[in-house]
Symmetry: C2
Subunit: 479 residues, 2 copies
């Protein structure tokens, strides 16, 4: 008991100080560390393994929908960024500039990509000649840099890892479909794999991507009621095609401009996963992306048959599951229990001499902290079912919390109270005017997270200005 106490003291309580709880958890579980360069992080193996699992899942979905991976340069000439003016205004304040090579001054400054629309569109204009070359469907997994002032590991860092898809299409309809298709794939990654429920919708004029016609977003709710933008997909219309001269000979024999899209998810998802599922004991990993799905902890290693049974169980499980056997003798079972609970391993298998003799294994599930018995004989199947159940239950718990903290507001004063003391998602009606959006942000700190696909009519009036309401939006404080 004393060890558990000590552990609980080591991680700040979620309800006391959520920001500190987050930092404690991601550092103490060896997911991440601060780098010696301002705002940069080191992703340690336990955090990187989550990213590898996300990559594997998303990459397969991209390829199954016809996309190919490629790699475009890290460095972009300054002149490229300037071509699309909204894009330049949006990104130039947070761009890092390369000015010297060896001991020589470069003739043109180069920027480190904050995103790659400009350099990729430049290449596409060279590669695309005819409608026969379309659609072009490419993706890259890479690092990008946005030199932000305020940073937090995974959530907002100067450098982060992501994938960025970039496509060109013959018609506006096809580009639109593509943007929505990838948006839906992101939902599957989030909901079905990270067990992270999301609201699907469109960004407001103010919040959309610099250079896009439409930005589709998925917004997740963190434990503290704040929103996390978890993935975006942009319908770029002909904006970049115009500026980068992506022209093709159409079916009608005439020259036409292409329609492009781009879409991305990043290591930010790892931060989201921590903040959606974690509790005062530490992380809770959804089985589908957990670096370790099951840890085997034998009790009484010195007793006859225990170590042999542990090895046998490991051998039986390790091809189908990501499984770890912890048979170190210098640590007690209790110490190990705490360790893997903090690391959020979904299922712990524990057993001693007695269990082996009686033909069962005790399984501890991290999501509910309950213990059940699995039969030794049928272990593979029962573990598989248990892990699926943990996965589904984690989604259910997160969805219930999000639903509970999502409320309809028709009164502005009530909404302000929510922003002050009871954070969550507000469903409100609004006019569509930019000035109302700015006023909301200034007076409450809330922003419009999205115009959801699933619309409801809550009232006739904009909650902020009282003007005629055009549509419903979700508002929240955001990471």
């Amino acid at each position: 008991m004393s060890k558990k106490k000590k552990f609980v003291q080591a991680v700040t309580s979620r309800d006391e100080d959520f920001a500190r709880w987050y930092t404690d958890v991601v550092l103490k579980t060896d997911m991440v560390d601060y780098a010696p360069v301002k705002g940069c992080m080191v992703i340690k193996p336990y955090g990187y393994a989550v990213w590898e699992n996300i990559q594997k899942i998303a990459d397969k979905k991209f390829k199954d929908t016809g996309h190919e991976n490629a790699y475009f340069p890290l460095l972009i000439p300054e002149s490229f960024l300037k071509r699309e003016s909204d894009h330049f205004e949006g990104f130039s304040p947070e761009v890092l500039w390369v000015t010297q090579g060896g001991d020589q001054q470069l003739s043109e400054r180069l920027l480190i990509r904050p995103t790659s629309e400009t350099i990729i569109c430049n290449m596409y204009s060279k590669w695309i000649q005819s409608y026969r070359d379309l659609p072009v469907l490419m993706n890259q997994w890479c690092n990008v840099i946005r030199w932000e002032k305020t940073t937090r590991p995974f959530l907002r860092t100067a450098e982060f890892l992501w994938q960025e898809g970039h496509t060109v299409h013959e018609t506006t309809e096809e580009a639109h479909e593509e943007a929505l298709r990838m948006h839906e794939i992101y939902r599957q990654v989030a909901e079905e794999n990270l067990a992270m429920p999301v609201i699907m919708g469109e960004k407001s004029e103010r919040e959309k991507f610099a250079g896009a016609n439409k930005t589709y977003t998925m917004e997740a709710m963190m434990y503290d009621g704040k929103a996390l933008q978890a993935g975006t997909s942009h319908d770029l219309g002909q904006n970049f095609a115009k500026m980068f001269d992506i022209k093709f000979l159409g079916r009608d024999g005439k020259e036409q401009l292409g329609y492009s899209t781009s879409w991305g998810i990043s290591t930010r998802l790892i931060g989201g996963l921590v903040m959606v599922h974690g509790d005062d004991r530490g992380l809770k990993m959804p089985p589908r992306v957990a670096p370790i799905q099951t840890v085997i902890i034998p009790i009484g290693l010195e007793k006859e048959g225990v170590r042999e049974a542990a090895n046998e169980i490991f051998d039986r499980l390790h091809e189908e599951f990501r499984v770890k056997l912890d048979d170190r003798e210098q640590y007690s079972p209790g110490w190990k229990f705490n360790e893997y609970e903090m690391k959020g391993v979904p299922v712990r298998l524990e057993f001693g001499k007695r269990e082996i003799e009686e033909g069962y294994i005790t399984a501890f599930r991290r999501d509910t902290l309950e213990k059940t018995k699995l039969s030794f004989e049928n272990l593979e199947e029962e573990l598989k079912t248990l892990l699926e159940d943990v996965q589904n239950n984690m989604f259910k718990m997160a969805k219930e919390r999000m639903d509970k903290k999502t409320k309809v507001y028709t009164d502005y004063e009530e909404l302000k109270k929510m922003a002050d003391s009871d954070l969550g998602f507000g469903k409100v009606m609004r006019s569509g005017d930019l000035e109302d959006e700015l006023k909301l942000k200034e007076e409450t700190g809330l922003t419009i997270r999205c115009i959801p696909f699933e619309q409801e009519k809550l009232s006739d009036k904009c909650i902020i200005s009282g003007k005629e309401a055009k549509y419903m939006v979700y508002v929240a404080k955001a990471y």
Copy 2:
């Protein structure tokens, strides 16, 4: 025939101008393109797919030997580079400097990593406290930049992709073993997967990595007789541990310095693969890393049953093999044959109505340009055997060429002739003196590629200076 002629004209002959042949092939097969930034390349999907296959193979070997992936920052503070003086001298001339963020000057210049020993060792010094924390075995897949003057796609580019492993050990023996272990894994990647035979050995004092005690290298021979350094593994001794303060409490209770290694292979391997195997028709892909292992080309698509058979064959093969069905009607079978021969697809399956009726499929193998018959019934198995045979034969052909172009030299004038007009590997005896090595380079353009593990005694005298010979080396012109 006219199409084949046209095709052969399109690619420069290997023997006429090997450099131009290389550029023609990598550009025309859509492996790579020049980027708008000096010395940078865009890796297109057909080239990137080779990299993905190499990654999958190497990553599994790294993990099977206990290594974990992580991610360290792109940017390194200037002060870090300066700490290890050999390392600084080696890398500073080709480093890119970041000096501005947004519109502000940075307080300390940051360099874009040319390799990550410095920033990784800085983190390791924080993470490693006791011998219990050792060994630390990490790897990262990432981009690096070396601002080179003369560049060629894949072979030498300002930015390239690679993996860099970085480990710390308790003893010099363990570090030494690790460096050799990874060196051997690289050999397996090269010989068993890229079908690229290599000479295994150690780098000379002049050619070793800036900051290493010993550098192990594998050297491959290209079609033109020149050498390509295809992968290196460094035993760093305590050099970086000293400068970055990687100390740990030893088993004896005393503070000690760690022993480190680093090792890397890069997208350069793709260039090597092209130059070892390609011929005047274009690429030859070794099956194990080929983006497309088999292309199915039905002949007479309009005839009854042909399209159905093509789809059936694709369905049967596509889970076990990387297979493509080309059933486009706007291109003739002859056009397609040329296209996939140029792209180096190891096996082409072609068939029409007659073959289907008679129960076989014609297989064309790219390595020997021969046709064989595969039975429709037993297709999976026979194709598998055929691909293995292609893989083995490609290695055999490359090995025979390397052996044929590897000669013993005991006369300096003969060696000079080789350097002038008959490039290959020279096995020669040398003294070990730096001045001899410099003289060789200056007078012949040859460099010492490695001191091979397999030593022979060819004579008593250094071929360059006539001094007492210490060991045998391989010399060659190098990429």
